[in-house]
């Protein structure tokens, strides 16, 4: 359950938006920090460099002017010692200063002339010697035994000896490290917090979209007079809802028009048909000989066929537009099919066709009874019209949790291969079919209007196979094309 919600969360647009937003924000702030860090590091270095060059000049001056007697090393040493106390950015006042600053004088023979600092200065000397060139600007000197490099400034004295003043970068590095650590903590906090805010805001926004989607899908399935929820805010989502509602207005009005047109068509054609049929019947009730009444009888037959064609055409058109009016009741499919088989059996056996039924017993479905009757009748009419003698029609009624399945198969010639894939299209029929090609289109339209499905195929052993799956859901679950209470005209 948890992983399921987590999964759906990961797939949500809100999650993706906040992820990408957080990423962009994190990278951006990181870039800004890198620039800031460089600026600060450069500034610190510039300051320490300025101090170093200043001090080394002073020391060079002192070393140059001090007479080279036995007091020399003491005087210069004292001055160097003093200088080391004025080190900028010093954090640890209690630390050993000699660890921090060194002063070194090397004679032109390369020997150590004077050393102020911790230890004997030999590693420092070795490091200086390793450096091939001597520059006027301070540089980083890596001394063996120390973790952080020394920023070192040098100067050549008049007597050809060199003096070196080194300042440990330990504190500078610690300051920067501190800065990085604090920034990282803050950055992490901001990114997490920011992405959480973005996530919840977009989730809320997209929640509105989801509500609209849910409402819209329900409208698509049932009630066209309903509308999606609109928010008072005049943002994109508000616009979306308004646009959808506008579209629904138009769909509803065209649906209304369809009802009006089919209603008007039905009425306009039906009234003259009724009049013609009635007059023919009255004429027929007069005293005629059989030969004289024949044209009247066939005219009535033709009229009835025309009416049926008109009815089915309108039904199929309405069902295709999801505008079929259903009045749903509970129907026992098992009983209905038994009655239907009872009705068709004599005609079938007249033609030498056998019918057998296998049923799972009571199968209640929610359906428009009149339409369901016609669906079953159409299926059996089809078998009756197209099967040659001594064939068998097998009807199997099964049931599972959410659908009733009706399987109608026969061992006849099957559907013609050129039409089997479009058998549910209107006016598609076999070459030898005398029907109007609406029977299976009607079946499919009605089944679909009830939320079911129907498939047609040819059996591998030969013969046609029709499988109808009819949902068993309660009234509320079944798709009810919207009920415009259009009064019959």
């Amino acid at each position: 359950m948890y992983s399921k919600t987590a999964n759906s969360l990961m797939r949500s647009a809100a999650w993706r938006i906040s992820l990408w937003g957080a990423l962009a924000f994190a990278v951006g702030t990181m870039l800004v920090f890198v620039m800031l860090h460089r600026f600060i590091a450069n500034d610190i270095q510039r300051r320490s460099d300025a101090w170093l060059t200043g001090e080394v000049a002073v020391l060079g001056d002192v070393a140059g002017r001090t007479p080279k007697d036995r007091l020399y090393s003491r005087v210069v040493g004292e001055v160097a010692e003093l200088a080391s106390r004025e080190v900028p950015y010093k954090l640890r006042s209690n630390s050993n200063e000699n660890d921090f600053v060194f002063f070194l004088q090397v004679g032109n023979d390369g020997a150590l002339k004077l050393w102020v600092g911790s230890g004997d200065g030999l590693p420092n000397l070795a490091a200086i010697r390793e450096r091939k060139f001597i520059s006027d600007v301070p540089y980083d000197l890596y001394v063996k035994g120390f973790n952080s490099p020394f920023r070192t400034a040098s100067m050549q004295l008049d007597d050809g000896s060199h003096i070196y003043l080194g300042l440990s970068e330990q504190d500078e590095l610690r300051v920067l490290k501190n800065l990085r650590f604090r920034f990282f903590c803050l950055w992490l906090l901001i990114v997490l917090f920011g992405s959480a805010i973005v996530f919840f805001v977009t989730k809320r926004m997209l929640g509105h979209v989801r509500k609209i989607t849910e409402a819209a899908s329900q409208i698509g399935q049932s009630d066209l007079s309903r509308r999606v929820p609109t928010s008072r805010r005049n943002d994109e989502i508000g616009h979306l809802a308004q646009t959808l509602n506008h579209m629904l207005d138009r769909i509803e009005s065209s649906m209304h028009q369809l009802h009006t047109i089919t209603g008007a068509l039905a009425h306009d054609l039906r009234s003259p048909l009724t009049a013609i049929r009635g007059k023919l019947e009255i004429a027929l009730s007069g005293d005629f000989k059989a030969e004289q009444s024949e044209p009247l009888v066939s005219a009535i037959d033709e009229l009835d066929r025309l009416t049926e064609y008109l009815n089915v055409s309108l039904d199929v058109a309405e069902a295709k537009a999801d505008a079929l009016r259903l009045s749903l009741t509970e129907v026992d499919l098992d009983e209905l099919i038994r009655v239907m088989i009872g009705l068709y059996e004599p005609s079938m056996s007249e033609k030498g066709i056998h019918v057998n039924l296998r049923s799972a017993g009571l199968v209640t479905v929610t359906a428009d009874a009149a339409l369901l009757h016609r669906v079953i009748a159409n299926l059996l009419d089809n078998e009756l019209n197209h099967l040659p003698a001594s064939c068998t029609v097998s009807i199997t009624l099964g049931v599972n949790e959410d659908a009733a399945t009706l399987l109608v198969e026969d061992d006849g010639p099957g559907f013609a291969s050129e039409i089997v894939h479009q058998i549910f299209e209107q006016r598609v029929k076999g070459r030898d079919s005398k029907g109007h090609g609406l029977g299976l289109a009607f079946v499919e339209a009605v089944v679909r209007a009830h939320g079911g499905s129907v498939t047609a195929s040819n059996r591998p052993k030969g013969g046609a196979l029709l499988l109808i799956s009819w949902p068993r859901g309660s009234k509320a679950n079944i798709e009810v094309p919207h009920s415009l209470t259009l009064v019959n005209r």
């Binding site: 009234s271 009535i300 009016r325 009045s327 239907m340 009705l343 004599p346 009757h373 019959n488 005209r489």
Partner: protein, 225 residues
């Protein structure tokens, strides 16, 4: 019996009236709702035939309005629509009936007779029914002709019983479908004819006067004289 026919199409109105008069009813016609209301307030009718698509008023509203003013005569509704409005279904439960256009006149007459009889509430279901030499026993559900028991299936018995109850009147195929099998649709095949053919094979055996007669283009009739 006096009937009120409310129908705006003069063509339909005229031939329905003609056949009703021929069937022995007295018929007044109204072309719209207000004329019908006026007529119904002046004169008591045994039954009403109302078309749903009236120029000035919806037929259902007219019926409800008449009901409210205390007119309780049974109503036969004529509808041009093939699927019938739920409101009409509601009325049907109240004892009224409907017919979709185009209809067979025979069916109109049969349904009207049913309605009027239902309203009179006289016809107790008889235990036995006799039509000429045909005899039906509804308790043992057996039929005999001229004293000879006919070997009918239960379905055939129901079919024959329906024909006998309406002996002498034309019964259409769709009436048989709806009354005997409880299905309201127009069959595309001759399923009903085969049932009748089989029944006839058992009732009208050789050497006997045929009782079940086919009225071509309309339906069947069981002779009663």
């Amino acid at each position: 019996m006096r009937l009120l026919l409310v129908e705006d199409e003069p063509e339909i109105s005229s031939f329905v009236k003609q056949s009703l008069v021929e069937a022995g009813y007295e018929v007044d016609t109204a072309e719209n709702g207000s004329a019908a209301t006026q007529l119904a307030s002046k004169q008591a009718y045994h039954g009403l035939i109302v078309d749903l698509g009236l120029p000035d008023q919806d037929g259902i509203d007219l019926i409800l309005q008449l009901r409210r003013s205390g007119i309780n005569s049974p109503v036969l509704i004529l509808s041009a629509r093939r699927s019938v409005d739920d409101r009409v279904k509601g009325l049907e439960q109240g004892g009224d009936d409907y017919l979709t256009k185009p209809f067979a006149l025979a069916e109109l007459l049969a349904r009207l007779r049913n309605l009027l009889r239902r309203n009179a509430a006289t016809s107790e279901e008889a235990a036995r029914l006799r039509v000429l030499d045909l005899e039906l026993d509804f308790i043992s559900r057996r039929a005999s002709r001229g004293g000879e028991v006919l070997n009918l299936s239960p379905q055939e018995f129901v079919l024959l019983a329906y024909l006998c109850r309406h002996a002498g009147r034309v019964i259409t195929r769709s009436m048989l479908l709806s009354e005997v099998w409880g299905m309201r649709f127009q069959p595309n095949t001759n399923i009903v004819d085969v049932h009748i053919y089989r029944l006839r094979g058992k009732v009208d055996t050789e050497g006997r006067e045929p009782l079940i007669r086919t009225v071509r283009g309309i339906g069947y009739v069981l002779k009663d004289r």
